[in-house]
């Protein structure tokens, strides 16, 4: 559970103990926290892999398969996009998941960035 949700829930219990808590509507969350939550669950983060002249095509395909669980055909399609177009969006996910992919790809030597999909 998100720690902010848990804190909000705990605050409600302290303010409205036992039966009173059931009868009283939970206060709305802070709008700033709402924005954070929306962003945390927003699946619109794109993982972009960029072309570079050193990484082998076969290695890039191999890494895509290992990290992103692509089949060979999909991995090759994205590798060719990187090669010919300079970049490819290899995943759209929540920020946390996208950062995980980014780190896995970066530690294997690929050039990667994150961007918010428009």
């Amino acid at each position: 559970m998100d720690s902010r949700l848990m804190q909000s829930s705990m605050r409600a219990e302290l303010l409205f103990p036992e039966s009173a808590a059931a009868a009283v509507e939970m206060p709305l969350a802070d709008p700033v926290q709402d924005t954070d939550l929306l962003e945390a669950f927003d699946p619109g983060w794109e993982v972009i892999v960029w072309n570079d002249p050193v990484n082998l095509m076969s290695y890039v395909v191999y890494v895509f398969r290992q990290v992103l669980s692509f089949d060979t055909q999909t991995a090759q399609k994205h590798m060719l996009e990187v090669h010919h177009l300079g970049k490819s969006c290899v995943a759209r996910a929540t920020r946390e998941k996208a950062e995980h992919y980014l780190q896995q790809l970066q530690q294997r030597g690929l050039k990667v960035s994150l961007q918010k999909s428009s």
Partner: protein, 165 residues
């Protein structure tokens, strides 16, 4: 050079010149893995330790720790392979790696290719140069090393993908 697969193990068969190149590459990358990120040449630091996310200081420290740990585990594999390559008296030498180790070895060799290209300022033009012109290049040593590692990476990937071929 050959790469064979026996069940869950790869055997990398190297003759003397190949083994020498491999030892040289592994020794060099091992040394570089031990250097703190801030002490590496800028070009290498960018390649190995940059993070394109906008991280605050705490997350940046976590990221660097993670990479150090990852490369530390790679270093253990390199040490073992260097031990196997030292003191060889008969050829060819056979390096044995498990499949998870083969996966790590690919990253290690790729890191070394990236390192050599960065340090010697080698780009697409130089790397894709005709083979006969590579030997005329003032950068022939790193280029030969880069191509040797590429060859071995390709062989390992083929054997991981097609155990019986």
């Amino acid at each position: 050079m050959q790469v064979l697969r026996r069940h869950q193990v790869l055997e990398i068969v190297l003759f003397q010149p190949e083994a020498n190149l491999m030892r040289k590459s592994l020794t060099e990358i091992y040394k570089n893995y031990q250097i703190a990120a801030e002490d590496l040449p800028e070009a290498v630091r960018k390649l190995w330790y940059s993070n394109s996310c906008e991280l605050d200081a705490e997350d940046q420290a976590i990221w660097l720790d993670h990479l150090s740990e990852f490369r530390g585990e790679n270093s253990q594999l390199i040490e073992r392979l260097c031990d196997d390559l030292n003191g060889i008296e008969s050829w060819p030498v056979i390096l044995t790696v498990s499949l998870p180790e083969a996966d790590r070895l690919l990253t290690v060799m790729n890191d070394q290719r990236l390192y050599l290209a960065a340090i010697h300022n080698l780009g697409e033009l130089e790397i894709n140069e005709d083979w006969d012109r590579v030997f005329l290049s003032p950068e022939k040593h790193p280029l030969v090393n880069i191509h040797f590692l590429a060859w071995l990476i390709e062989l390992i990937i083929i054997r991981l993908d097609h155990p019986a071929s």
